[in-house]
Amino acid sequence: MLLIPCPYCGMERPEIEFRHGGEAHVVRPPDPSAVTDEAWTDYLYFRSNPKGVYAERWRHVSGCGRFFNVVRDTVSDRILASYRAGEPRPAAPVEARR
């Protein structure tokens, strides 16, 4: 079970308090009617699924209820960064805590 730092609550909490929300920074086209079918299905269905550093959404459902983003290494499960929804992904996540 991961320990996930919630940027709103300001503390690490166990994973059972959270729900995973898929890949982060997948932006819904502001005007969906203007995009091609291909661009729309890319938005709907295609995710990067990397082996390594990955930005993902979490929601602190049993806590503050907020969505936020986490950068996690999918190989080691190390959490490299945790930041509020809407904030840019940290350029080079530093290992604040392992």
Binding site: L2, L3, S33, F67, D77, R78, A85, R98
Partner: protein, 1001 residues
């Protein structure tokens, strides 16, 4: 035969406390402190099990949890039967009843052993190749009817118990600064160092007695004291320290992210008998700041023909049986080894009076201090050895081997001690994502840099010398304490005497075994995998060890390859003429050892398995004898049978009552969300397919929520209470999902909107009053609102009072009748229900349950999300596309409606189906086809989604999704039933009051 193999000594035993037990119905004697395995060996019991596939007789191989053969079932009274326990771990208690497994009728005479003679049929992957025909009785007939039942009966382990488990299992969540896994030399040194820093230390060990290899140590001294004295003193000091907890009988079975470690602790039988309130096992979910892994190493078997015969066991295990339990494994033993450590066993056995006929060393020379000591003790040592044959079936009688000096010879013996060297236990390190590195010099995988905050010390880090292990443990303990924020003590010198270095080891099979198609040289004992099976797998093209493993099942037994993996890898590498790292390593996954279901389930059973949600009206319904059904976690009243009524009669009566008069229905489980804020209407416009901006205050709309992929996700009535306030209802099962979808878009996509969402599901009790007399029923209780059609038409909402308490009254209908839903605060729900029910009875009304609700709505063709839909159904499929707000630029799911699949012609559409025989009620889920006997391989046109007997219509009705269904109205189609296809005519999906006049009554 009374403990004929018992000899003096045995530090684990309390000889003042004899114990009697039975194995396969035969009574034996042992002592307190024995394991079942040591007691069986002491009594000369050699065959303890039959192998999985070939039913070969098998004996005890090891003295620890890695044991692959001695799996037994242990009964401890009614309901207390545990199969597949390792006899090496079962502590002997008075009256213990143990049985062997996978044999019939008995261990000595097992009919299944015929499969050993048929072994050529059972090679690697036999289940993919053999037993496939004949098929002239039908596809796979022979496999399904003949082979599989037989193979299933013959192959297998213990029998699962059938009675409920009467024991309690506890679950703990805990934290510590430093968790030390393994209380052998390295673990003790680590725990002591960490404890000296003041850190909160947990030391766990799988065995009943901590100490690891120190328990059997007879020659070495540590810090000037005999090793066992040092062990006792160290344990005493740790036990006395307030900041240290020692968990014995506790297996660290899983190491998950961020040092989350699963520990399963089993409590000893005497403690349970003394205090029946104790749990049988405890599952610890331990979060440790730092972990020190001191898990030790496991001795490897040697691979030679018939190496599975009872009496052949691991050398160090024989030493443990002697030194811990006072058991000699034989009268005359031969030792075959590639590692110096086996000489220690030979020396100890020789001192105990066992004849050691020969130590046959596989290596070219044996010149270390231990071989020299063996020679000095008068034991014959020969090198360049190779084992060629074993005589004896139920028990080894002789070994034929070649060695220098001496050449080829046959030695009589009743036990053979083998050692292929030691495999570090890197499982937990690897589970924690640590990368392993192959050390070619040691021929072992050892921990590389850790990913988690962990350190490996001692044999699990391939540090095998006692002094070196102690030093490494001490250093790891200090480093862990420091990393956990404590000031560590100074490094401690821990001098060791009398523990000469031991080296050596071999992997895989010797050359004369490789390629011998006749040799039954076992790699994996329990799963009966031989060298030739691994060779065959590679010959057939399997290259990755992961594939070889699955094809041959090597390493897939209950011991998970603890004994076999390295040998299998080396054989695969030899056959492929490549290196071991090239072949790869199978993944280590939790659990390290089998964990009982009881431990995982813990208290989550029976009433505590899943929370049950009950409405405020539940108790009333229960009192009335309602039958309940589970809808998610909710308990919903299903129907209200009167005396002597079955379900069908009750539902027919309830339905007729609603259509003719009035019925009360508990709709409290409906999800309710209050949507409030400046942009509430705009938000709903984006979340739902419908338009909401122009919805007047006081009016309701049937809202349809799509997924972003364009398919129907949920529905419900949405009422506007104020320009900036909406009462949103959802399906019972979809409430959480809808709120989550709303929160998701609100927080992450439509962040410009000012809206607040509040779940009010459990704040309101919702009472649906439906039927032509609904208005008459509620009128006496409702204050502050005009119920007339003009003032309060269908699809309206008002806040007022009912029975004197605040009420939110909605005029809505899911029955097709005049209907109201009265929401009152949950605390008032029961009283308001009772008042309404008394009034309804005056009008001949009744309470109805979910089944009648389903029938009534099906008569009207109203869909239920999750019954008519499955996540791939569009509004157009259901004929609900009229609800879409066409003028809206965007809403969730809108863009997807233009994609090829949702817009495709010929999609399945919702239709009604009326069987030609009105008494036939079709089965929900049945396939709908164009002809009664469609050709094999052709697709169905669709399927039945809802089907009921309808009292209103006096016949059965069904809803179905059928390809191009709306164009087929009037056509005759067929629905599959167990008795063959049944003809039915396609109709519109509404069977009753198609103009909806009754709604507006």
């Amino acid at each position: 035969m009374s403990q004929a193999f018992r000899v003096p000594g045995g530090v684990a035993l309390d000889r003042a406390r004899p114990i009697s037990f039975t194995f396969d119905g035969v009574a034996y004697a042992g002592y307190e402190g024995d394991t079942l395995a040591s007691a069986l060996l002491a009594n000369g019991v050699r065959i303890v099990g039959r192998s999985y596939k070939y039913h070969r007789p098998r004996g005890i191989v090891s003295a620890g949890p890695e044991e692959p053969n001695a799996l037994v079932g242990v009964a401890r009274g009614p309901g207390r039967f545990t199969p597949n326990l390792r006899a090496t771990e079962v502590e002997l208690t008075d009256g213990l009843v143990a049985t062997s497994q996978n044999r019939w009728p008995s261990l000595r005479f097992d009919i299944g052993a015929i499969s050993d003679l048929l072994a050529p049929l059972f090679g690697a992957g036999f289940y993919y190749k053999t037993f496939m025909g004949p098929n002239w009785l039908g596809p796979n007939w022979a496999w399904k009817r003949v082979y599989e039942p037989v193979v299933r009966r013959a192959a297998g382990l213990g029998t699962a118990p059938t009675a409920p488990d009467p024991d309690r299992y506890a679950r703990y969540f805990d934290h510590c600064d430093v968790l030390v896994v393994g209380a052998g030399a390295a673990g003790l040194a680590a725990a002591r160092a960490a404890a000296d820093s003041g850190a909160d230390v947990v030391l766990c060990d799988e065995a009943a007695a901590p100490g690891g290899s120190l328990l059997a140590e007879t020659r070495a001294t540590i810090e000037g004291r005999p090793a066992r004295d040092w062990l006792a003193e160290t344990l005493q000091a740790l036990g006395a320290a307030a900041n240290v907890r020692i968990l014995t009988r506790t297996q660290a079975f899983g190491c998950y992210a961020q040092n989350f470690v699963g520990l399963s602790e089993r409590l000893p039988e005497p403690a349970l008998i003394a205090d029946p309130t104790l749990p049988r096992e405890r599952l610890w979910q331990m979060r440790a700041r730092e972990v020190v892994l001191a898990a030790g190493a496991i001795e490897r078997p040697l691979v030679f023909a018939d190496n599975d015969r009872p009496g052949i066991l691991l050398a160090e295990s024989a030493r443990r049986y002697l030194n811990l339990y006072g058991v000699k494994v034989g009268e005359r033993v031969v030792v075959v080894t590639a590692h110096d450590s086996a000489y220690r066993a030979a020396l100890d056995l020789a001192s105990a009076g066992v004849a050691v006929a020969l130590i046959a060393d596989l290596r070219d020379e044996a010149s270390g201090p231990l071989p020299q000591a063996a020679r000095a003790a008068g034991i014959e040592v020969a090198v360049k050895a190779s084992v060629h044959a074993i005589r004896g079936r139920g028990r080894i009688e002789a070994v034929r081997l070649a060695a220098h000096p001496g050449g080829m010879r046959t030695l009589a013996c009743d036990a053979l001690l083998m050692s292929g060297g030691w495999t570090p236990s890197v499982h937990l390190f690897s589970q924690a994502r640590g990368k392993l590195a192959f050390d070619a010099g040691l021929e072992a995988f050892r921990p590389g840099p850790p990913v988690a905050r962990q350190r490996s010390a001692g044999a699990c880090n391939a540090t095998f010398g006692l002094q070196e292990a102690l030093a490494e443990g001490d250093a790891a303990g200090r480093a862990a304490a420091e990393a956990a924020g404590r000031s560590p003590p100074d490094p401690r010198a821990i001098p060791v005497e009398g523990a000469p270095p031991a080296a050596g080891g071999t992997l895989g099979a010797p050359l004369h075994v490789l390629g011998d198609r006749h040799a039954r040289a076992f790699v994996d004992f329990q799963n009966d995998v031989c060298v030739k099976d691994v060779e065959l797998a590679i010959q057939e093209g399997y290259r990755s060890i992961e594939h070889v493993k699955r094809y041959t099942t090597t390493g897939m037994a209950t011991d998970q390859g603890k004994l076999s993996n390295m040998n299998a890898l080396a054989i695969a590498a030899a056959v492929r003429r490549t290196s071991i790292p090239e072949v790869g390593l199978t993944t280590f996954r939790p659990p390290y050892m089998p964990v009982t279901f009881g431990a995982f389930a813990g208290p989550a059973r029976d009433d505590l398995f899943d929370p049950a949600r009950r409405t405020p009206i539940h108790a009333w319904a229960a009192e009335r004898g309602a039958a309940f059904e589970d809808v998610g976690q909710w308990k919903r009243a299903w129907y209200f049978p009167r005396r002597g009524e079955g379900m069908r009669a009750a539902v027919a009566r309830e339905g007729r009552t609603v259509r003719a008069g009035v019925g009360l229905f508990d709709a409290s489980t409906l999800g309710k969300i209050e949507v409030v804020g400046r942009d509430a209407a705009l938000f709903l416009e984006r979340m739902y397919a419908n338009a909401f901006k122009k919805l007047e205050v006081g009016r309701c709309r049937y809202g349809l929520m799509l997924t972003e992929t364009g398919y129907l996700m949920d529905d419900g009535v949405i009422g506007r209470l104020a320009p900036d306030r909406f009462h949103v209802t959802t399906t019972t099962g979809g409430a959480a999902r809808v709120l989550a979808q709303m929160e998701d878009y609100l927080q992450t996509e439509f962040t410009d909107l000012e809206v607040w969402l509040t779940s009010t599901t459990e704040q309101w009790a919702t009472i649906a009053v439906q039927g032509p007399r609904a208005r008459d029923t509620i009128a006496p209780f409702v204050e502050g609102l005009d119920l007339s059609n003009a003032a309060f038409p269908h699809m309206s909402v008002r806040d007022g009072k009912a029975c004197g308490v605040p009420a939110r009254v909605m005029r809505v209908s899911f029955s097709g009748e005049l209907g109201y839903e009265i929401n009152v605060g949950s605390a008032y729900g029961l009283d308001v229900w009772k008042a309404l029910f008394a009034e309804a009875e005056k009008h001949g009304g009744c309470a109805y349950g979910t089944e009648t609700m389903h029938v009534l709505r099906a008569e009207k063709g109203y869909v239920i999300v999750g019954q008519e839909t499955d996540g791939t159904v569009t509004l157009a499929d259901l004929g609900l596309d009229w609800a879409i707000g066409k003028a809206k630029a965007d809403f969730v799911g809108k863009r997807s409606l233009r994609l090829a699949e949702p817009a495709r012609e010929g999609r399945k559409q919702l239709v009604g189906l009326l069987t030609e025989d009105p008494t036939v009620v079709l089965e929900e889920g049945a396939q709908v086809t164009a002809t009664a006997t469609p050709p094999t391989g052709s697709s169905a046109l669709g399927h039945i989604t809802s089907s009921y007997p309808s009292a209103t219509l006096g016949r059965s009705i069904a809803l179905a999704l059928v390809a191009g269904g709306r164009a087929r109205v009037g056509e005759k189609l067929f629905a599959s039933t167990a008795a063959g296809a049944v003809a039915a005519i396609v109709t519109a999906p509404c069977f009753f009051d198609p103009d909806g006049k009754r709604l507006h009554g």
